[in-house]
């Protein structure tokens, strides 16, 4: 595809005459060499897929849990919506909650899409619009499954991605507009739009990641992507340390390139927090991943970084203030996150370096990634020997002294999102024991709210870091560098066993680190399901947590399990934007394995995935609007998402009602009959309280109507086994999942048959399931 062609001819003589001042402008030239016919819904608008959304939303009805009883969005307000009352504009509580859900999804999708736009523009400037997209060589023919599905475009070059982003940005803009006062007013329509924006979010993520994979030398669908260093202890703090925080790797690339060009690779450490860290290691496997988003205060206050580079997304907004306290020069490198710093983009590097080293300016904004690279490296080299003098954390005796001043007012505990008994830990500290503070090190999400709440200004989070310092320094693990997409070959290998149910499920462990009890839950869940021969896919901060706990042999999960997209694999796809490859894998199963047409054919593919692909997302520590948008993209594809307990603050769940039999009838595409398929999957979006509940729920939500008897038998085996082990009893809903006696695992037959008898179970058929009447091959007579 060629975009924005301009031809200008001042004067031309031809046989037919003289032409002067001819100007020709063509918005877009479509090179439609893609043989696949266009499907019914290329570039869907806000309402194109509304009917599909409503099919899902009528089955998985929203349960709203208002986080705030008021609406404060216009000057009529504040309006009290308690009890589903209507506000001055006429909106009721249900619509308001769904409106906030949509707003969150718009913020998330705009963030990913904005990231992608910046990435594509930057890479086009560097590599040209015609630079080919290549995310897996010959192993990947379907290089952009989400984009193909949604937009009906087969992008081949970086330039082609601009058109895709034009579409995504337009849709986000329209959806955001619908949240204005006096526009949309129905909660289900808001929900449908949230699904739409979620779908668009996956397009934006896909564009961002395939652009960087194609140009920056990232692993290309590589199951054996290198194992890279993870954890605070892996950073050699004797070297100058540059710490990059955020999600956009472009400034980090500038840093690494400068180091390479100047033969400084051995002389500095480049490490990252949050998704930038993943992408640093995808670019340069000597980069270090410090840890997830919640490690920001921890790492800064440790005093280890000599220069802090901030790009975009999930950066603590007080990162500059925190760094300044420890005399760490800060470079903000994104237009989206200027931190109030002076824009020095156009100043000579020498001057900026001098100002940062001398402390004349504590931080700068530099919007040229190459200049960021030069300045960061030169400043780190000069500042490191000086900064080593700065004390970063209080000494133990100082903590004990300060803890004695604690008033035991409980304000820190009440501010703690985990309700940790901080006053008790401070009381123990006052008695000379830091052990209770050290216990919190592992569990703390690092928000720092305890300090903000303390009326006498105790640096409680620093106390916790100091108490856990020994553990922090010992954190040396391995993470598999983000591999990017799943190859077509892998999809061909696993497509059949997934769809038939013989691989019991695909579990995507994604999202942030707002965990209820530290990151170990994530690692435990990954191992549990990999051992059960599910395919476990990880990304983002969750992928880091998955690698931070060793087995009895001292191996981390990525050393213990294959990185192949296969039964028993733990597969790190990469950063946030790499989540699109998880959706992409599900889409490719429908396309490559089942040969369903992909191009602009969203509804049919989603219907296929919903009924056949036993995939579940788990965002154990989801906190962000981006996570909301990512989840929404999965919902529209019919993939259920589970969130940890803090995920309830997304204020709306999408819950099926297994007890309402009438809700669970799908068409049998072979006959046109409506047949009971059971609650499979039972929920589309669900919060769970504990790791144990998460595991049982994952196993249950992997069931799909299309499972063969053998597949259902395997899935039921895992569900029952986990339920018995973790809940201490048999599940009581097996009558809803057993279709024929062949589904019943032999080893559990007596127990299950007993339940079936008690529940008056009746045999049902295993259909060729669909929610779409148009997919019925034989019309009902």
């Amino acid at each position: 595809m060629t975009k924005n062609v301009h031809v200008k001819i001042d004067e031309i003589k031809t046989n037919i005459g003289l032409i002067k001042n001819l100007e020709l402008s063509i918005g877009r030239v479509i090179d439609d060499s893609w043989a696949e016919p266009m499907g019914p819904t290329p570039m869907p608008s806000l309402t194109t897929l509304r009917d599909w959304d409503f099919k899902l939303l009528n089955r998985y009805k929203p349960f709203y849990m208002p986080f705030c009883d008021l609406c404060c969005l216009c000057t009529f307000g504040k309006c009290d919506l308690t009890g589903n009352k209507r506000g001055a504009c006429g909106i009721n509580m249900a619509a308001q909650q769904s409106r906030i859900v949509l707003l969150a999804c718009c913020i998330g999708a705009a963030t990913h899409t904005g990231h992608a736009r910046h990435m594509v523009e930057h890479l086009i400037e560097k590599y040209g619009r015609r630079h080919p997209l290549d995310i897996g060589g010959l192993n990947i023919k379907v290089e952009a499954p989400v984009t193909r599905l949604v937009c009906g475009i087969k992008p081949q070059t970086l330039g082609d991605l601009e058109e895709v982003l034009d579409y995504a940005e337009t849709q986000i803009n329209h959806a955001l507009a619908s949240t204005h006062t006096g526009q949309e007013g129905n909660n289900l329509d808001f929900e449908s739009k949230a699904f739409h924006v979620g779908m668009v979010d996956h397009v934006g993520m896909e564009v961002g990641d395939i652009a960087q994979i194609s140009t920056l030398g990232f692993p290309k669908a590589d199951a054996e992507a290198p194992l890279v260093d993870l954890g605070f202890g892996s950073v050699n703090v004797n070297n100058p340390v540059i710490m990059c925080i955020g999600h956009n790797v472009v400034p980090s690339v500038g840093i690494i390139d400068y180091m390479k060009e100047n033969d400084l690779e051995e002389k500095l450490e480049v490490c990252g927090l949050c998704c930038t860290a993943h992408d640093i290691t995808r670019y340069w496997n000597r980069g270090k991943i410090v840890g997830p988003i919640s490690w920001q205060l921890r790492f800064i206050r440790s005093g280890a970084p000599d220069v802090v580079v901030l790009d975009e997304q999930c950066v603590r907004t007080d990162a500059f203030d925190e760094a300044q306290r420890l005399k760490m020069p800060v470079i903000a490198a994104s237009e989206k996150n200027c931190m109030g710093l002076p824009n020095r983009t156009n100043d000579p590097a020498d001057e900026i370096v001098e100002d940062l080293v001398s402390g004349k300016t504590p931080g700068v904004l530099i919007l040229d990634p190459d200049k960021v690279g030069e300045v960061a490296v030169r400043v780190a080299l000069k500042v490191a020997p000086l900064r080593k003098k700065f004390k970063a954390l209080p000494e133990a005796k100082e903590i004990i002294r300060l803890a004695k001043t604690c008033r035991q007012c409980d304000l820190c505990r009440r501010a703690c999102p985990q309700d940790y008994n901080i006053p008790e830990a401070l009381s123990a500290a006052a008695q000379g024991s830091l052990s209770k503070l050290a216990e919190m090190y592992e569990l703390c999400v690092g928000c720092g709210r305890c300090e903000e709440a303390c009326p006498i200004g105790l640096a409680i989070h620093s106390f916790i870091i100091k108490a856990g310092e020994k553990q922090m320094k010992e954190e040396t693990y391995k993470c598999r560098s983000g591999r990017g997409a799943i190859s077509d070959v892998e999809i061909r290998s696993v497509g059949s066993p997934i769809v038939l149910g013989e691989i019991p499920g695909v579990l995507a462990v994604v999202g942030c680190s707002n965990y209820p009890k530290g990151g170990q839950d994530v690692a435990d869940i990954c191992r549990e399901f990999a051992n059960r021969r599910y395919i476990v896919v990880t990304s983002g901060c969750a992928a880091m947590s998955a690698g931070m706990y060793r087995n009895e042999e001292g191996k981390t999960a990525y050393e213990e399990y294959t990185g192949e997209f296969a039964a028993g694999g733990i597969v790190n796809v990469g950063s946030c934007v790499s989540n699109s490859h998880i959706a992409g894998a599900a889409i490719k199963i429908a396309n490559i394995f089942a040969r369903r047409p992909l191009r602009g054919n969203y509804e049919e593919i989603a219907d296929y995935i919903y009924n056949r692909v036993g995939a579940v997302g788990l965002a154990w520590g989801a906190y962000s609007q981006k996570a909301a948008a990512i989840a929404a993209g999965f919902w529209r594809l019919g993939i259920p998402v589970i969130v940890g307990p803090h995920g309830i603050k997304y204020r709306r769940m999408l819950l099926g009602r297994a007890d309402k039999e009438e809700d669970w009838y799908n068409y049998d595409a072979r006959t046109g009959e409506k047949v009971y398929v059971g609650p499979a999957p039972e929920h589309l979006f669900q919060t769970v309280e504990t790791k144990e509940e998460a595991m049982v729920t994952i196993a249950k939500l992997c069931m799909r109507p299309n499972d063969t008897w053998k597949g259902r038998l395997i899935k039921l085996t895992h569900y029952v086994d986990l339920h018995k082990r973790l809940y201490g009893t048999m599940p009581q809903d097996l009558h809803r999942f057993v279709r024929t006696l062949a589904d019943v695992p032999v080893t559990m037959k007596d127990e299950i048959i007993k339940i079936l008898d008690e529940k008056d179970w009746k045999e049902t058929v295993i259909p060729d399931p669909t929610l779409l009447p148009r997919m019925i091959r034989k019309k009902k007579e």
């Binding site: 308690t82 209820p516 307990p645 919060t687 973790l726 529940k759």
Partner: protein
Amino acid sequence: MSATEPWQTAEFSGTKKAMVIAKPEVAVAMIKKANHPILVIGHLAAEIELEGKMLIDYLIDFARKSKIPVIATAHIVGEFLKRGFEPAGWMSATEIGSKLADPEWHGIDCDGPHDVALFVGLPYYMESLILSGLKSFAPKLKTITLDNKYHPHASWSFPNASVKDWAENLKIMISKFEERGRKQRNVNV
């Protein structure tokens, strides 16, 4: 800190706050008036110790004496069974929340909609949001919390109180219900 501020800071912004249960006898009186109560118990019941006894053990005593059917959330059904107590059902906390908000739900024992739901032992923020959902979308349901933390989204809540007072309140409530020995029914949920 006031006893009637939400336990977690900034948890509440609205106009309708829970009435404070000043004495456990008041809670008992309200529960006795209920036609069809239900008790929802979260996983913390199996983690919190009150004066040398686990919260779950107090709550089993409470359920036995009050004959209120119990829903165990998360994974703790096994903790009840280990103690020889069979809850009426188990499901996720938001599932029971959404069912309680459904006026057509036949109730955990198929005896019709519940008119009073008691909550205890969930993480504060989870319980708070579920109560918020019920406040807005279950107009006929009254909610009561048995925790020692003030829950403004409930209809009735105990104030913020010490663990010692919490244990004492539970003991008093248990003593006020007469033992009737009706077995918990495990029915279609």
